[in-house]
């Protein structure tokens, strides 16, 4: 089930917009594709990130994957639980597996993201 209250990117990241901040992570589809996640590298607090640019790395047993920022802004918080337990992303990609919180540079950028329905259709298209 794709949570209805989130926005989604083509690279399988999600954003939960809360006023002028957003919490971001990767989708269930992404964690399934990656397999068991063994390491997560996130940017430092205070770092600025740009929409669609690489801002984090997630490693699974077999490979490392770039994660793209769904929105631009400054990192205000990162999920420290991921340091010792990155597998939380596999278990709970939309809740306990959140990656960071961003203070948004431009709330209008959310228009570049898909709704839950749009993301579900997008996934169906990938499966073809």
């Amino acid at each position: 089930m794709t949570p209805k209250d989130l926005k989604y990117s083509k690279e399988h990241e999600w954003a939960r917009i809360e006023g002028d901040e957003a919490v971001v992570g990767i989708t269930d589809y992404a964690q399934e594709e990656l397999g068991d996640i063994t390491f997560v590298e996130t940017p430092e607090k205070g770092a600025s990130v740009k929409q669609s640019e690489v801002f984090a790395t997630i490693e699974s047993v077999k490979a490392a994957s770039d994660i793209y920022a769904p929105l631009s802004g400054a990192i205000v918080e990162t999920n420290e639980a991921l340091e010792e337990h990155p597998e939380v992303i596999n278990e709970s990609p939309y809740e306990k597996g959140w990656i960071c919180r961003i203070r948004l540079a431009d709330a209008g950028e959310a228009e570049n993201l898909m709704s839950a329905e749009g993301y579900e259709k997008y996934l169906e298209g990938l499966e073809d």
């Binding site: 397999g35 068991d36 063994t38 390491f39 590298e41 490693e59 047993v61 077999k62 490392a64 990155p86 597998e87 596999n90």
Partner: protein, 351 residues
């Protein structure tokens, strides 16, 4: 599923970590039917195989098997394998999947009096590995229980003829089961039904073998390396003549040697990452651009790297300058935009 050595193979079933941990705790079942089985037969077989394999064969009794290498004339490794003496004049070589065809041609071309048959296509192989493997076999093939390592027995499981050897690639007690491919689904289904047995794929097979420091052909050993460089001279019997023997360097006389490392955290170093001394004069800052060649160049290269589910940190193997390859030496592994701190550690890393 993933492509491997010309086969369509399961990388994982439920997940690499869970399959790995289950194999260390209970019993994992690996479908490795893609591997090759080459049969050599006749009174000339012993002498002719002895000239092809690095391991000693004349003291191998029926029911015993041994690990060794097929070498090129220049000492480069064509394959690593286990040779089984199935009778006074009959032998089976279990070889890697990707090299089966080449190995078959090499062996066949070099035999004269002995008969050769490539039985790979009609032979299935399942590896049952883990502390509970013996308990599983007690009900199915009791004569296999209590076999010593590198011993095997031929018998049957529920009417299926099986050669069960006390060998494996995980470091756990367990068995490699060789039998007719026609019975593959039946034996798989039978074993999977057992409550303590879970299927495990190539992903877990790799993390399990790497925790024990076992080399993987094509990654840690290949034609460009000889067994001395790979630190595996104990599987080479120089007292007999075999192809490649005279090209081999003396023990300990290679510039580099295959050794292991344990990383400081969870981040993995991958194959082809360069290995630098952590205390080299220019290695001041791990996140910097890295030392220049003169005086601070690489001391080695990674050949295999992964996350160890048992240690919960990254591990790997690589070729390192012998002078540098001491346990405890601090190194930095660079590649793919990453810099990973690690410590040289002789395997096994676990157990």
């Amino acid at each position: 599923m993933t492509a491997f050595g010309g086969w369509h193979m399961p990388l994982q079933y439920k997940g690499i970590l869970t399959e790995h941990l289950h194999t260390r705790a209970k019993a994992g079942l690996f479908d490795v039917s893609h591997m090759g089985e080459l049969l050599v037969q006749g009174p000339a077989a012993l002498g002719e195989l002895d000239r092809l394999l690095t391991c000693r064969l004349d003291d191998l009794q029926p029911g015993r098997c041994r690990y060794g290498f097929l070498l090129r004339e220049d000492g480069g490794i064509l394959d690593d394998l286990i040779v089984f003496r199935t009778g006074a004049e009959s032998w089976m070589l279990c070889v890697n999947a990707a090299t089966t065809g080449r190995d078959a041609r090499w062996v066949a071309e070099h035999l004269e009096g002995a008969a050769f048959r490539d039985a790979s296509a009609e032979t299935a192989k399942l590896d049952l590995q883990g502390p509970l493997a013996d308990a599983v076999m007690r009900d199915l093939m009791p004569q296999a229980v209590g076999l010593e390592r590198f011993h095997f027995r031929e018998g049957s499981i529920r009417g299926i003829d099986v050669l069960a050897s006390r060998t494996g690639y995980t470091g756990e007690p367990g068995f490699e089961l060789f039998f007719s491919a026609e019975a593959a689904e039946a034996l798989w289904d039978l074993l999977i039904e057992l409550p303590d047995v879970q299927p495990a794929g190539l992903g877990a097979r790799d993390t399990l073998r790497l925790e024990k420091g076992y080399p993987l052909y094509g990654s840690d050993i290949d034609e460009e390396h000889n067994p001395i460089e790979a630190g595996l001279e104990r599987f080479v019997c120089r007292e007999k003549d075999f192809i490649g023997r005279d090209a081999l360097p003396a023990a300990g006389a290679t510039r580099r040697v295959l050794t292991g490392f344990v990383c400081s955290g969870r981040r993995s170093a991958r194959a082809h990452y360069r290995i630098y001394a952590a205390d080299s004069p220019r290695e001041a800052d791990v996140s910097g651009p890295g030392p220049k060649a003169a005086g601070g160049g690489p001391v080695g290269q990674v050949t295999s790297g992964t996350f160890s589910p048992s240690l919960k940190r990254a591990i790997g193997l690589g070729y390192v300058d012998r002078a540098f390859a001491e346990d405890g030496r601090a190194i930095v592994l660079r590649g793919g935009g990453a810099a990973v701190r690690a410590t040289i550690t002789s395997p096994p890393f676990v157990g």
